[in-house]
Amino acid sequence: MTDLIRRDPRAEWIARNRLHPLHAAMQPQQTQWMGPNGLIRKNPHALASGFIGPAGIKRIDRSGAQQGTGKRQSTSVEVQSPLHVVEQPAFIIAVVPDMVGGRLGSHDKDVLGLARGLAGQDGAVMAVIFGEHKEQSFDTAGVDRLLQIDGDEYVGYSPEQRVLALRALESEYSPRHWLLPDSRTGGGELGRRLASSLGERPATRVWQIKDGQTLGRAGAGREDIGQATPRLILAAPECAEPVSETRHEVRQVTLSVHIPRNLPRIEDLGSVAVDPAQIPMAEAEFMLSGGNGIKDWDLFHRAAIALGATEGASRVAVDDGHMPRARQVGATGTWVTARVYLAVGISGAVQHLQGIGACEKVVAVNRDPNCDMVKRADLAVIGDAVEILQALIERVEAYRNGAKRDAA
């Protein structure tokens, strides 16, 4: 967005020049005129609207001598970064992002930024994703080619089948480098499986790649290993800056090689219900947090159980004795990293908003539509917390019962 103040000297000159054919059009909005009864009428709104002066400060000129066109500020336009097109890539850098929740996480974006650096002008970054996704910003994250591998066999926990698919990619595109996030959310495991399957020795916990040299942490983090950049890289978070200055075409590609299908040796029996109260608050995935707006705390606890959410609270709720101190969210309590944060009756003090800075989706339920939490939230519902929580419990229970009936 450009907010540059621009004077238009030509328009000002036309406004001064009564003989110019466009003189009338360049006159400022009429601010006073003679009414039908001989009274002088003034339009105070037109006067007070003013104009933006050369220093970027609003000026009101009541003398009526205001010249030039009214608005001298260029309209804000969405600036699109330049599109980087790689028509015939000299080589491919393959990236397998984690896609937690179907979206690129910050770790994924860092790895894509690292891949972009390795690809340079001639190479193309190919992102490989399994199954469906919800991501809309592959282009600004630096993905030149997108390979989406679908199929029933990739649903759930299927690392062995995924390695087979990646091996098929290896045989078709033979990427110059393989990059995976060295994370617990899948990349670390998949990358190591791929490494052992390809017989490549990976560099792990890599945090810098510079001039063909790779630096990665060794052991328990007391030493660094520097080595020539290997083919397979498992990169630590913040290994590189994410792509920010270019857009990329996200061209869809497919595998022409048939991916063999193996009989899974590891059978996925599904996720196990974990007591959400036992999960440490700092790493809970889904949190329900209550504040001053909660009048019925029993209902709040029931809602947390029904939703399967970890409980949190604002400072006020803790000070009032409704929740233990250990449950306080915010700068003075715990900094949470929940993927979904449901804030009920919390207006959003600065300290609280700092504490939820890492949360991806924030849902607010509040009476006050102007509070800071509503401004921060991705979805805000204005209304009474008690009624909305009750309706939410009913809705979730109806959904659970429906699912049970389907299963039976």
């Binding site: 062995e160 490494a195 290993i225 196990v272």
Partner: protein, 257 residues
Amino acid sequence: MAELNVVALVSIGAHPASGRPRRAEQDARAVELGLGLKHVKLDVVHAGDPQEDALRAYLGMGLSALTVLEQTHETDALPALAEHLQMANAHLVLTGGQAETGEGSGMLPYLLAERLGWPLIAGLAEIEHIENGSAQVLQALPRGQRRRLKVRLPFVASVDQAAPAPRQSAFGPARRGMLTREEVELVDDPLYATAQWQPARPRPKRLKVIKAKTGAERMKAATAKASGGGGQVLAGVSPRDGAEAIFKLLHDEGVIR
């Protein structure tokens, strides 16, 4: 049921602050998991220097003996371990997630599984039961979640931080326990010849780069409050509709299970 052969692979750890040798945290969890299994014969194996005192800390957990495949620091542990496991007729191999000394790439369980042709469970939290030649286990996922998996024996498993905490090491058993040495063929690890090892440099802190071209934009970036950037606001809706909208978002995000 026949007795199962369980092998736990252990390494020498390093204290995070002082760097002194100690029993490795995750390997101790692997041993603890093996000790907790019923009707098994637990064999604890270390590839390295048998003179190392820290090894006795594993014996102090209640083991009578520990097998040491005698190696130097710069040798590759993989061939020796793979050969030993084949000879030992192991059904289940437990390892830590990654070593605290040396490269610590966490590749060993993967390479062992690949070489032996066994399935691998990464991030094991608990073994629920072993029946009819297959095991039902819990895998630890990030954010405190668990996943139940079923896998046929034999398999390799690397334990997670979520596995039961290791018991204390007692001094007497640690002194009494036997260290059995085994001679193995030495294969050099090429990484020690090619890579440069250096003390860990502190990582540069990521700076918040503000790409503002004018002073007004810089001012705005410095003073702006955190905002989600125009979220959806539902005002004047019935509680039912509001709850429905919230439920839809939670369901799309996959947090309602």
